[in-house]
Amino acid sequence: MSKTPRYFNEMFENGKLRPPYKGLEGWARDMPVDLRTMKQNEAEALFRRIGITFAVYGEGGDPDRLIPFDMFPRVFTDTEWRKLERGVTQRARALNAFLTDVYGRGEIIRAGRVPANLVYCNEAFERAVVGIRPPRDVYSHIVGIDIVRTGPDEFYVLEDNCRTPSGVSYMLENREIMMRMFPHLFQENRIAPVDSYPRQLKRTLASVAPPKCEGEPVIVILTPGSMNSAYYEHSFLADMMGMELVEGQDLFVDGDFVWMKTTEGPQKVDVIYRRIDDAFLDPLCFRPDSMLGVPGLMNVYRSGGVTLASAPGAGVADDKAIYTFVPEMVRFYLGEEPLLQNVPTWQCAKADDCAYVLEHLAELVVKEVHGSGGYGMLVGPKSSAGQIEAFRSKIEENPANYIAQPTLALSACPTFVEEGLAPRHVDLRPYCLVGQDVVLVPGGLTRVALTEGSLVVNSSQGGGVKDTWVLAD
């Protein structure tokens, strides 16, 4: 019924085993079914015990269900990874340069390389931070870049996440659980460790302490609270980095600084890794009804008393309409050619593009400009005529709200299914840290579309996760 385009199989190319998966072929083949079931149950029990669950919005059912974990790892060679790493760090530098620029002199706009209205009229553009230079000119300290693969040497960036990308706890926990369940795999294969991530994140955050901070900076994680779908991750990272996990009510502004209430009296806070959206950060600057933030926080930030990571306003760089211009940013700010390609994108805001999109809905993926989590999108080849027509009227109603991309033949990686091993489509989100240095831990979150033929990997849409290996040379 649905036509699946030819795709790249990361383990078998034209029926031949690709070298990075050499260490896994026998392991999977020789694993008895009952052992596999036992291990799968063990993995699930471990995930349950550590409490890593993910709330799924708008689907009904158990909001605290586990994201399915697939035990078959996804593997990159050292060479493949180094190429990805160069591309990802390049992109993270360009995105930060863009943010510094658009909240400063706007050179890229003056040069006519990015349309002014796309930036200044963008919902994510924050007037409140115009003219502010955050420490080291870093706005987005954790850049999550969603990448898909279509061939041995072909990688495309699907989207950038410059605000507070989530999921890194899965990268760490997936590895932890794989090591616990299959220790021999980690003796037989030289797999680059990912466990330095919390340390690197802490170092990154410390490196952007405000100039007013003397001595060792005090860093906290600000969470919207236990009702948030990523709360597990917030508390996990606080634990791993040995820092306080706070809610808005635990912080207050006094004089030039932000303080944390402690049993030993107020403690000045220098860096806040906030996992709260801009709109809720400070009722005196953004939404006046927000109870999650800290009143006066933005004034302290704007006067240089505290660093917010990511910086408010960082979202203007990861907007889907701005996305088209990221390769241009790489050329403009870094004077380099982009190493990672964008997926060709049609902007429905442009009449020509929109006409093309409406004519080719059955072949395209259409997304909302500000959407995320796989909601409100149309995957043309997987949709019924009725769904396509319904989506057509949504686009016609508000074209500027939509972009469209070709349906990419996402690569597939072997995945344990009922009948044994079968290829399932995957993507990758590495987490690039930007502070004094720009670093990428060798790994990331591989998401897998568990339904046969499906290209939607979002955990909110029934996707699963895998451990991601980078083999040492």
Binding site: C121, F125, R127, V253, G255, N299, S303
Partner: protein, 272 residues
Amino acid sequence: MRLTVTHQTVYRFDEPMWGVVQSHRLTPARTASQTVIDWTVSVEGGTSGAAFRDAAGDWIETLTVRGPVTEITIDVAGTVETEDTAGVLRGHRESMPPRAYLRPSRATTPDAALAALAEKAVEKIALGDTLAAAHALSHAITDAIAYTPGETHAQTTAAEALAQGKGVCQDHAHALIAAALCREIPARYVAGYLYSAADEAMAEASHAWAELYIPDLGWVGFDPANACCPDERYIRLGSGADAAEAAPIRGIALGEGQEALDVSVAVEQVQQ
């Protein structure tokens, strides 16, 4: 014209509050039309800090008061020498791109009626004559919304004010901003003070108007409530996308108590 301002704001709470945090935009900037001779903002019992000049050129200060607090008084007093620049904002240091004021806020989102009003107001004006269009829009708002205190409240939107046909300076300014945005003219809200001689009809010492961005001229003030452009009777305090963003005092009190607000503003001319 030399003007003195005394502006007192008193917050009273019916039960003690844990604390109060406020962001103050209470100090006028120097521009071609105003020179601050002296100016003080005083509050008893609070800590003042986290002060900076924002990209729009406004001086912002943060006030924190630790509880228990049942009353706060903020006293502003100062003297400003003003000049008539026909509403043109000159000599004002700011780095905000004017296009950042093309996006409507909740209060300034135009509806069909505002869009129709804006279109009709400029129909006889040559394309590209933004200054004439701005004047025409301001006149249209003056005509469409009668100055009537007590008919609107702080949360009233531009669209609601136009539908009612009544409002105060805040509503006039919001409606003009919304109409300007329909014509893709950057527009923002300005809070300030207005001097009125004893015989003048509108004695609204705490005042608000709009600024529209005119190519070659820059920001130009329009006061639809008084059917004029700001002159030497006006003192400009600060700006924002709408009344909430430009508010001279934006604050929050932590606790369960109810707040009662008492504001008195007097603007007088110093006889020289």
